[in-house]
Symmetry: C2
Subunit: 658 residues, 2 copies
């Protein structure tokens, strides 16, 4: 049952073989293990005062028949538990913890009792709407929940070797395979929220069972074909939705669900951003595993559309909070952005799978951008406050008093009722090691510069890799290799898009241009490596003054500061005396980077000068022909991911160049 | 019954004494008479193909018992009819038309049959919810509809001398006076949509009956007092609203209705913008008629807040479409503005009443600004297409594809189901003559420069005033006076805020500085006038490059072009080859005004130069450190009120100065 699928070129170096030990990232790992995972566990038991109950345990107990009561929470409430289980599984992979493992096993016990005889698992439908299974795929997230449970099962199996949850979820997946498909008596549908597709690929990898791969492929290929499943289903349901019992003439909005046309024909990212990137991730998985070139082409087109037309400089995606969705090319408003934390996590999933499909640095560049900026911004340094929305410009009073900006919060919020982002951050950061390296039989690709160790087999040799990295503050990277014997393989090092050059030494000796080649953004060092070889890479980390495409109206005349992987932001608290919009970059003052040990645990700030347009003479005038006078003031930018940690104030990533 | 109230200083010169004959404005009068009024009349009979039925006649016939059927339209549907009747009344005042008068009398016949024995009139409650009168003042617009009916009755009485409708509405008003008040058994409430208050002042003026003034005062004084009427009423109703039959924990939002605190304590314009300015208009009326200084102070504070903090340069108000509402100081987003046509009409009402209270040019400046820009922009030149929303920046694709901008239409729409703005434009423009002059016993104030004639009594002399005006294209104004005898009085001429000086002659001879004084923005010419005296005023109409207060983030680094009363806009159709946001004013090219006879009936355009940032090299790049290259291109701005008449394209009022 659990014979893993054969490795394929581009496979990630799995989490169990990677240990992160890094001055920047280790702290985040600790936060996930010591704050986020325990905190959410408490919410599942509805015992955190002042926080919306998580309902998870109670729903399980009711579904298991151990307790009477009403189902609590959203129709997709089980997914919070699933994401937590996945995070716990990843955490146990790298940091064994018998107490955590015991808690998970207790939950799995309850889950086993809540699972239905045919393998079905969903506490909402078991408790609240028995008999309504699979009647509203459009709205009810049934397969989405299943997907998260499957991801959890795979992670927990990888973390502990225990197969109980994996077996339970295989039974569930097998049952799903019986229900869905094109055969007689089968349901020719798919879920309103994509997730099961990428989960089934993981299940295939963990078990080697190709039927899971085929089922994922079915969901992907069936989506968007005629007749449109969501419209047919809606008519069968009497034109009602899960959210409103009143029949409506408004059929489900297919682009929202990326189900308007078959996925291979899609070339614009549309609709709910999280749904979109989860689906693209599965498409990239299937393109690789099945060597499916038309699917790969669709992935490349969608990747291109997102990253060249619809992505914020922070790696945020989703320009509108209406439907948490993509809008259209170059529409990137800073102050009404949605840029959900979960969507950037999904973009990281997509990017990592594109890297496995074809190692091109641009995928890792975006992955890194989304990780260091939007994802990190999403969580406060206590692990208990989160941004769901990651705007690039905030005017706190507008967030309160202009309803079009109510979704834009000026400070991180406590745990939400719809707790999608926090456990998503947890599972991503708990599995961060998996994003650092991929390999082929004879090449090790380093995508991220994060300190720690990895063990890999390359061309028949076991190689231990020890990386040290100064990121995000400096571009000094050192990689030491240990092998049991001289080992011929290629080490491919990503040259990020944020650097203008690099310096490379092996054992202290500069590498001659004839001794490496650069391909798709990676420096390939092909040689026979010896134990103790030390590769040192220096990536100059200049301050970059970045502009946006002229079609991006929101950024006309503006610049953003970028240094290394970090996007910077101005905050009102550092620029008191007027709005940030009144500041204009003073090019006569050089910009300088300085490590400020006092700033929120220490961070590199960028300092320079600005001219501030004065309000003198404007006290009682709204419009005037008067020229604005300006005075020089200091300019100070902090890493975007740290914004909103010093109380409410204005923030902007883009500011006036002229 | 119909002995008018005594004139008061500052009274407008009434519509029947003013005839507009003006190269610019006469055409609009003709459009209202020949297109808008007849067209809406047809909609009332539900016989305009492709247009939402107006329901008016059918609702009346059903309420009158002449026909069976269901009530059609909104709860406030009668108000469309009332505004049309008012427009017809104004039109008949200046342009008698027996056929129109016959049509109105037919409608009044029906209305008489639909009026209830106790004087109540409202087809919705008569037909659809008999017995529910006055149970939901918050949502149901009952007194709002009554107010519009009263305004219609006064206008029709003034236009024709016929008293039937006026008498009917006096009965209705008397009945309202029996229902509302602080006495035992009376309802201590007021309407969710202010309007009755200003209407009752008009009814007082037309009839001289002080009880109508007292009732208006009651509604104004009662509003916002404790306990909050809308909350009490909501609890009595079982916490439901007109819009949703499901009880809610969400009580009515009092600031939306300007009923959060007593009106005399209000100093910030909040909530639904039309409701607000209708209320402020009544407050200004009452302040003047009752010499009520604390109410006058509240009016001045609210005026100040709107015009110095919350008004678009076009005279638009209402920064958000959520609740069609004010937001807060300096929050004036251009691309998500609401700036409803009706709200600017209400601002004109407020301004004209402030002028009556105290003749200060700033009130007329705003009145003129709103009239020439937002109100005129609201209507297409066919009288059948309208903007409800008057944005200052439009990207047509964003209007279609970013849901946060769905309310911003790039071209004028046909008649709407909720037809509030078109008949409001009609009644304003049909009564435009009333906004030109006000007078005291010995001073005639000229607020607007609009050609035509007026007859006034000044210090015992009948004076005929004939004005010619070059506005909005030139600032040449001539006023010829005819008197039956030499007449000592003061002619006060407004010096607009858009001019830097003026030249003044009487009978061709320059007026010496010792022969006039300037007070509150008016030049006062006090002398004994002789028949045939000719005053010529030249108001230089330079192109003005206007900037906004540094707190207005949306306009940082941007300028707008203003010439005379007109605000200008750039349109994409005149600047093809890139977005308007890529244009930067080229100060090396002088700006010049030129009359373009080809542009939409002829208009002065402003031409100059811009530098356009090029897209070369950006084809496949979203963010880059590359500087943007720019090429010089012609700049062409057209009057804002004409935008959106040449097909869909981008539009912006504010553009980059640097």
């Amino acid at each position: 049952m659990t014979a893993a699928a054969q490795p394929k070129p581009g496979d990630p170096v799995q989490l169990r073989h990677v240990r992160i030990s890094d001055p920047f990232w280790s702290e985040y790992g600790r936060l996930i293990r010591e704050a986020v995972i325990p905190y959410q566990y408490e919410t599942f038991h509805d015992r955190v005062p002042g926080v919306e109950p998580g309902h998870a345990i109670r729903n399980l107990r009711i579904a298991a028949g151990l307790e009477k009561g009403e189902f609590g929470g959203f129709v997709f409430q089980d997914s919070d538990l699933a994401k937590w289980l996945e995070a716990a599984g990843h955490s146990l992979t790298t940091h064994p913890d018998p107490e955590l493992e015991r808690k998970v096993d207790e939950i799995i016990d309850l889950m086993a009792q809540a699972q239905q005889p045919d393998g079905y698992f969903n506490t909402y439908f078991t408790v609240k709407e028995p008999g309504k299974r699979w009647t509203n795929l459009t709205d009810c997230h049934e397969l989405y929940v299943a997907g998260h449970l499957i991801e959890a099962a795979v992670a927990y199996y990888r973390g502990t070797g225990k197969t109980r949850l994996l077996d339970m979820m295989c039974r569930f997946a097998d049952y799903i395979g019986d229900v869905f498909g094109s055969g007689e008596g089968k349901l020719p549908g798919y879920d309103g929220h994509q997730e099961i597709e990428l989960a089934l690929v993981k299940l295939y990898r963990a078990t080697g069972q190709e039927r899971y791969l085929r089922l994922a492929q079915y969901f992907i290929d069936q989506r968007g074909t005629d007749p449109k499943f969501f419209h047919e289903e809606w008519k069968r349901r009497g034109r009602i939705s899960h959210w409103s019992p009143v029949p409506s003439h408004k059929a489900p909005d297919l682009p929202y669900f990326q189900s308007h046309i078959p996925v291979r024909e899609q070339d614009q990212a549309v609709g709910h951003a999280v749904r979109a990137v989860y689906m693209y991730s599965a498409m990239a998985d299937l393109a690789r595993v099945n060597r499916d070139e038309s699917l790969a082409q669709a992935c490349r087109r969608l990747w291109h559309n997102i990253t060249r037309r619809q992505m914020y400089i922070t790696g945020g995606i989703g320009s509108t909070h209406h439907g948490e969705a993509f809008t259209f090319d170059y529409d990137l408003p800073n102050d009404t952005a949605y840029a959900e934390t979960c969507a950037s996590i999904g973009l990281i999933f997509f990017a990592s799978r594109m890297l496995r499909l074809e190692p091109k640095a641009e995928y890792a560049d975006v992955l890194e951008r989304a990780l260091y900026n939007t994802v990190l911004a999403g969580m406060a340094r206590d692990g208990q406050h989160f941004f769901y929305v990651n705007p690039l410009e905030v005017w706190p009073e507008a967030s309160r008093r202009n309803p079009g900006k109510h979704h834009v919060k000026p400070i991180r919020q406590g745990w939400f009722a719809c707790a999608c982002c926090p456990p998503n951050v947890a599972r991503l950061l708990a599995s961060l090691g998996e994003y650092v390296y991929t390999q082929t039989t004879d090449t090790l690709y380093t995508h991220l510069y994060i300190g720690g160790t990895a063990e890999v087999w390359l061309a028949g040799n076991k190689v231990a890799v020890a990386q040290e990295s100064g990121l995000p503050w400096s571009g000094q990277v050192a990689i030491r290799l240990e092998t049991n014997a001289p080992a011929p393989f290629s080490l491919a090092l990503r040259i990020p898009d944020w650097t203008d050059g690099f310096r490379l030494t092996i054992n202290g000796i500069p590498v001659a241009p004839s001794d490496f080649c650069i391909q798709d953004g990676y420096v390939h060092l092909a040689r026979t490596w010896h134990s103790g070889d030390l590769v040192q890479l220096e990536l100059p980390m200049d301050i970059r003054l970045v502009r946006a495409h002229p079609q991006v109206r929101a950024n006309a005349g503006k610049v953003a500061l970028v240094r290394g992987p970090l996007v910077y932001a101005l905050e009102g608290i550092d620029h008191e005396g007027g709005p940030l919009a009144a500041l204009v970059l003073d090019k006569s003052v050089p910009l300088a980077a300085r490590f400020d040990p006092e700033l929120l645990g220490g961070a590199v700030v960028i300092e320079g000068g600005a001219l501030r347009e004065q309000e003198d003479g404007w006290e009682d005038v709204l419009y005037s022909t008067a020229a604005k006078s300006a005075v020089p003031v200091p300019l100070r930018a902090i890493p975007y991911y740290l914004w909103g940690n010093r109380g409410e104030s204005e923030m902007t990533v883009w500011f006036r160049e002229h």
